[in-house]
Symmetry: C2
Subunit: 316 residues, 2 copies
């Protein structure tokens, strides 16, 4: 694998594509935003005698792999089928799908690809570690697919990630790994909020509480990371409430597709959605505690102010 078309130059995709280029791969960038494609070529000191996007599209048939890092399954389908990328690839090329999508969607996309043509490889390889991990090349990669296709991806994965896990041989199993991981991450944030809101309702010292919980059998990576921000007013955003609306939405979809009982994930999902629907989707995800505080009657003054403000508007 030497030449990789990298589709999706977003917050995750851009640093991943840059790392691959620095790691010795020829990277042909692709994005709905043509400006980003142009800047990516320029940053790599690649001089073109044609439009940047046209250059990538014209060379699709030369690529050994198409790496996809977009927002959801619909965008993956648009790239592969509506925009004709699957048809343009050369025989034996490998599609490396790294976006977070539901396992059933990964399997369905793979099945649709098989009806279109049978001479492409497909690797299902979502990641965790966020933008920090994407930049540092320290992502966790959970990959599934045929052994020979996975072997062909190995060097690229070593550039992008630090912890590489073999999730299985079937497309969808990588995405299922990611769903299981996100189930725990999302519920751990929600339950940390539930615990600290209960502590607040009992007038406990929240600083002492967070310190105690972080060092006991009650600890989690999330309570150590998010706990200190939960007991402060909304501030710095490291990961937004809306990210977990999306990720726990995929977890719930994965549970529905595989018909698995997931009461805690469903509850946690609804808490994040409730925060988002109140207009707090862009706050740091630690602020899902505000949904608990609202239901516990602890945001009453704030609500009164809002109500007063609205009443004032109504009068005007």
């Amino acid at each position: 694998m030497e030449t990789i078309v990298f589709a999706g130059l977003g917050a995750m995709g851009w640093p991943m594509a840059s790392n691959l280029r620095e790691g010795g791969f020829e990277v042909l960038p692709y994005d709905v935003d043509a400006g980003r494609v142009e800047v990516f070529y320029r940053d790599g000191d690649v001089s073109l005698n044609e439009d940047a996007l046209t250059h990538t599209v014209r060379r699709l048939g030369e690529a050994d792999a198409l790496l996809i890092m977009v927002v959801n399954a619909d965008q993956v389908r648009q790239l592969l089928f509506d925009q004709g990328m699957a048809e343009a690839l050369k025989p034996g090329a490998c599609i490396i799908q790294m976006s977070t999508i539901a396992p059933g969607d990964a399997a369905a996309i793979h099945a649709d690809l098989k009806t279109l043509r049978t001479d492409l490889h497909y690797v299902d390889a979502p990641v965790s570690g966020g933008v920090v991990g994407a930049r540092a090349g320290s992502l966790t990669i959970m990959s599934a697919g045929e052994p020979e296709a996975l072997a062909a991806c190995q060097r690229a994965f070593e550039v992008l990630g630090r912890d590489l896990f073999h999730a299985g041989d079937r497309v969808g199993q990588g995405s299922a790994f990611k769903a299981v991981n996100q189930l725990l991450c999302g519920v751990h944030i929600a339950v940390a909020a539930e615990a600290l809101a209960l502590a607040e309702k009992n007038s406990l010292d929240l600083d002492v509480m967070v310190r105690m919980l972080g060092g006991s059998a009650a600890s989690s990576w999330m309570i150590n990371d998010r706990g200190p921000r939960m007991i402060l007013p909304p501030g710095e955003v490291t990961s937004a409430v809306d990210i977990f609306c999306k990720d726990l939405g995929i977890v719930c979809e994965a549970a529905r597709q595989s018909r698995a009982y997931t009461p805690l994930a469903q509850s946690a999902y609804q808490l994040f959605v409730a925060s988002s629907e109140r207009g707090e989707g862009r706050l740091d995800d630690s602020q899902v505690i505000r949904t608990y505080q609202l239901l516990n009657g602890q945001l009453l003054n704030e609500q009164d102010s809002d109500a007063t403000a609205q009443a004032g508007e109504g009068d005007a």
Copy 2:
């Protein structure tokens, strides 16, 4: 504080009382099982010229403190009020209540004590760390009460525990600390089971899954401790399902008493209760995963065998 009546020589109480005696306190043991009281005196090379239980009861008025380590709030009430211990203590003595009970029960017991007499101190100081921590003198102690009473308990707490947290000045706040801690512990076990059952439903490699989760942002103390046992058939019991039926029951009671929204704790509680009600209360608490497997249709063969066995009985 030199002489302590220690009430409740159970799995936790016995090693705690032993540690206090080894730590230089005179310990007067008390238990509903008179035989245990006798053995405790004998183990300490204390020779008595009267019945062991009678000896403790006769000397109640000499004690500087009454430490209580029993199963629930009813037993605390029986000791203090029905069996007359509160009346027998000398003025200025301190009641150190370390059993796990709901915060509202701790406050109510304290209030009832105040109507009986006002010359006793009361410290609300539950522990975590289990039998292992009790034996090692490494318990976490979450104490609440008047500062002078807490100061008087300091040396005893240092013998019993390693991490000492000041939960507050009001009786009930120690118990609330413990409830918040147990909320996280119980939900973390249940959600680990939910995640691994989802993984199993998706035919993922569970060994790889547990290894990945333990080192990622999805990790918790509980998934590292219980996860490996969840993916094995029922075996060694380190803490039983029924313990979390009790502890999450107290969490739910604490939430009800303080009117706090706790959907995740309520769900987790019901999962442990469902395991217990199916006759699996004495299994290791990691086996709460079996309730998920049952609802996911993954214990079908087992259920079929049971059904077949029952049908066979019916025919006979």
